[in-house]
Symmetry: C2
Subunit: 548 residues, 2 copies
């Protein structure tokens, strides 16, 4: 048997990982990577920060060069080569050299598609005007930097408040531009639950970003004086010298579709657990494929670099006949914005509701990132979503300034093993005063949820607040500074002596600052025969829910 | 049945947690806590930082006061009361009021012992001299602060380089004192493997701390001019105005022993999974008890606040007849020193060797804490110990300046579920350029170990270096700056063309900077028929092993 000829379409993340892995497994294979852009293996996650001048020079974004692939891996990289068609029957691809226009046909034994995703560009007027950009590649970064420098751009409109949108906002502010965010939804970071990103809305406002939330893009028009006008559904017009479209991405399935490969229900290339497409000689990896969500078991799209790299490795193993399996994704992600961090893993509450599920509970907590008595302690707001009745963790979200992503990493790792909230109660995590607490926020999240599941601490869903008598057990001075509508105040320390003031029959929703005193109050009251329930996360949760 | 009377001996960590939990479960129980010291529920983990003036004022160390226990929990706290004996048959304890000397007898239905640990004070001359201190309680902190202030102490000797010793060193330097560390072992942080704490030795030296490692304390003698002389086994004398004994702690089993309770083989109070002692009406929690190590299945002692709190909860549940179980410990711990962080979970290599085990492999890696192209990336050195042949993770240690403890937290969480290195390969962790890498250090650790286990990347144990031909595949300029004794240099990019320079028969140990290029070289060479093996973690590991 002669050495196999393996062709890879797309040389970033998944494709580059696959190529390197192939070489490590099979020294004899001929491996050729076709990339339509000028670069392979670049850090597209860093592009917003390069635009902002945080990452300099541009060459830092180049994780590996074609030269390195050639000398280190004996892998041939053909940049500036676009694959225009696949003939699965003949096992050939058609390749166009973008510099010369020449088209050639290349034979393969195995083909790996790693075309990535393309920015969503809805069919609205003006999206192709000069000054309107998407942010995906190094050439995109060059165009944006040049436009800002040459035009002296002062006002930017960012359309879309997801990862890329927020990172671009931070970096455009870093460059001194005025920034307006236009987002169709009433919140930034669409994958997360709205109340969990309220602190980001506050951070954006603090940093002078104008927010046009709940107001979708309608059109972009040229205005006088070389500016643009960004019109929204509400009729508002936001003037801009520069518009960033960060509405989202969709799998680039052009080639796959044309070749007759099966697509999945979410519109990505369909692959099996070995990343093989519907054609036995073609694999696909990265942002273009549909993968299984570990939590729901359903197909999903997830355009993130970590899973793309793992998929590249799996495809390489599979091509070389090794046993392998891509276990799915859970959607772990993090975003930094003006010193805040927001992170999540698994399912959000809204995703579960959208899927029609009601078999879950939700708790909130707002502990410090480390021992409160050590200087610099700061709040981490955490939301845990778990299955009823078995307590399996379905998802977690967190926001704060420090120690945020490490809690999500711990919960994500636990979820990998199908953890329950009872497991999180017991996790043994690093503790010293400057790093955590003897009861880590992860433990506390597990304890609160476990208390709810065991019936010790029934939780009233926040959306049902107002139906029951609300008891605020904080001290009088805290109560005076603000509470829930209609709440009565009996400080916890006085509660045992003032039980006669409580309604004997109906339910009582108990509130405190972050949920600890209310926990003690609920336990006390339930043992005295009251139908007391906890408002999870207390007034801090209320403020996040109100602060949208 | 009348309300049970539950007495708790010791009001810190485990005892305080148990008391609060008892009240939440049983509103009717009579709960009394006896504490010989003046405070309950204080943050003894913060004491070194209070001595250094980082945590001020002292009252910040008081997590909860007797008054709070009384008003919030209706729990009676008797500070300044020492329990002097237990009569298990009569179910009574003898209590001495330390202020009045009065002794009383107290009846219990259930008794919880949470006496904690006491600092080890070997029977050496001079350890009771004025100016010699242990660091455990708030009164200890007061004495040390007063001594430094009143004597104008300038020179301190810290005996013992564990957690407390290192934290004391940092804080004494913070106060401007000259510090010498006397440690019997040739390393600080005795639970960790020596090479993993080499960066701490460097940090200590950088901060002007004199190290007397491998040189145990022999005696302390009064010297002229109100100073002390700390004599070591080698005969050296270190002058000191202040000596901190931080040699370690041992379980305080005085009461338990006198009451005839069974002790375990490690000298702690023996308890079952419900934290019950050999007497059916007596439970014990915290630093005084022996617990099961989750990794080895063997009894162990672990004086840490997190497990103590969990044990307090378990005991409370057990006393109230609820199903509960303490699942054991894995020894997750972290320590900060002069901006470095060192953290560990599970078994160290030396602990396994001491136990006679040989069924394990070891890998090292030195990735950045976050994407290298984002400013501020810093190395995290990680060591993973895993069982052969199934890959079960036995332990992990890490050291660096940032992002250290979050990797240990993720691995600790995985170990809770019996994770293998194959699981770590797949963990889906938070990634954005300022937080991590698409292949997180945790993933990389799993991949490297998995490569070794699959036979793709055999690893030469570092202690065997020198037996085989050593090939350094770094570039010539790196090689010129330092390499292993006898190593030859063929840069990876030239390797395929220079295979004839390699020895055909015997083994070849391959080295690079941190282990990535050597991985590729080993794969290349093995496929060409060479018996190539990897030196895990490359020259960075060599430097740590040399830097002791």
């Amino acid at each position: 048997m002669s050495a196999p000829r393996i062709l890879i379409v797309g040389g970033v993340a998944g494709g580059a990982s696959c190529a390197a892995r192939l070489r490590r497994i099979d020294e004899s294979a001929e491996i050729v990577v076709f990339e339509r852009g000028p670069y392979v293996s670049y850090a597209n996650c860093g592009i917003p920060y390069h635009i902002g001048g945080v990452i300099e020079p541009e060459s830092k974004l180049l994780v590996a060069t074609p030269e390195l692939f050639r000398t280190r891996f004996r892998i041939e990289i053909r940049t500036g080569h676009e694959v225009t068609g696949i003939d699965p029957a003949a096992r050939t691809i058609a390749v166009r050299n973008l510099a010369t226009g020449a088209v050639s046909s290349e034979r393969y034994d195995a083909l790996v598609l790693s075309p990535g995703a393309v920015p969503v560009k809805p069919p609205l007027p003006g999206l192709d005007l000069p000054g309107v950009f998407t942010v995906r590649t190094i050439p995109d970064a060059r165009l944006i930097r040049a436009w800002i420098a040459e035009r002296g751009a002062r006002r930017a409109v960012v359309v879309g408040g997801g990862f890329i949108g927020l990172e671009m906002i931070e970096n455009l502010r870093q460059l001194g531009l005025e920034v307006t965010l236009v987002e169709m939804l009433p919140q930034v970071m669409p994958p997360m639950d709205p109340e969990m990103v309220a602190p980001l809305h506050a951070a954006l406002r603090e940093h002078g970003v104008r927010l046009a939330l709940g107001d979708g893009l309608a059109s972009i028009t040229p205005e006088e004086g070389q500016t643009l006008g960004v019109r929204t559904a509400s009729g508002a017009v936001h003037p801009a010298d520069l518009v960033i479209l960060a509405i989202g991405v969709r799998p680039d399935t052009t080639l796959a579709k044309a070749a007759g490969l099966a697509l999945g229900e979410r519109g990505g290339i369909r692959v099996d657990a070995q990343m093989r497409t519907s054609d036995p000689h073609i694999w696909a990896v990265g942002d273009a494929v549909e993968v299984v969500d570990r939590v729901t078991g359903l197909p999903t799209l997830l355009a993130l670099a970590g899973p793309a790299n793992r998929q590249g490795r799996v495809a390489a193993d599979a091509i070389c006949g090794r046993p392998t399996r891509f276990g799915g994704v859970q959607g772990t992600a993090v975003c930094g914005l003006f010193g805040r961090t927001v992170a999540a893993t698994g399912q959000s509450e809204k995703a579960l509701r959208r899927a029609g599920r009601t078999d879950f509970g939700v708790v909130y907590l707002h502990p410090n990132n480390h021992a409160g008595y050590y200087p610099g302690a700061a709040r981490v707001s955490l939301k845990l979503v778990y299955r009823i009745p078995d307590g399996r963790v379905l998802g977690a979200q967190a926001v704060g300034t420090d120690g945020v992503e490490k809690r999500i990493d711990a919960i994500a790792t636990a979820m990998q093993f199908g953890a329950t909230v009872f497991d999180l109660e017991e996790s043994e995590l690093c503790y010293a005063p400057q790093f955590g607490s003897a009861k880590d926020p992860v433990n506390l999240a597990g304890m609160i949820a476990a208390n709810a599941l065991r019936g010790d601490l029934p939780v009233t869903p926040w959306e049902e607040v107002g139906r029951a008598w609300v008891l605020d057990v904080r001290d009088a001075d805290e109560f005076a500074e603000g509470t829930l509508p209609g709440a009565r105040n009996i400080p916890l320390a006085e509660l045992r002596d003032r039980l006669s003031e409580l309604p004997a029959g109906g339910p009582i929703d108990v509130l405190c600052g972050t949920g600890l005193r209310s926990y003690n109050a609920v336990r006390l009251l339930r043992q005295r025969g009251f139908d007391a329930r906890n408002l999870a996360g207390g007034y801090a949760t209320w403020e996040m829910r109100r602060g949208l």
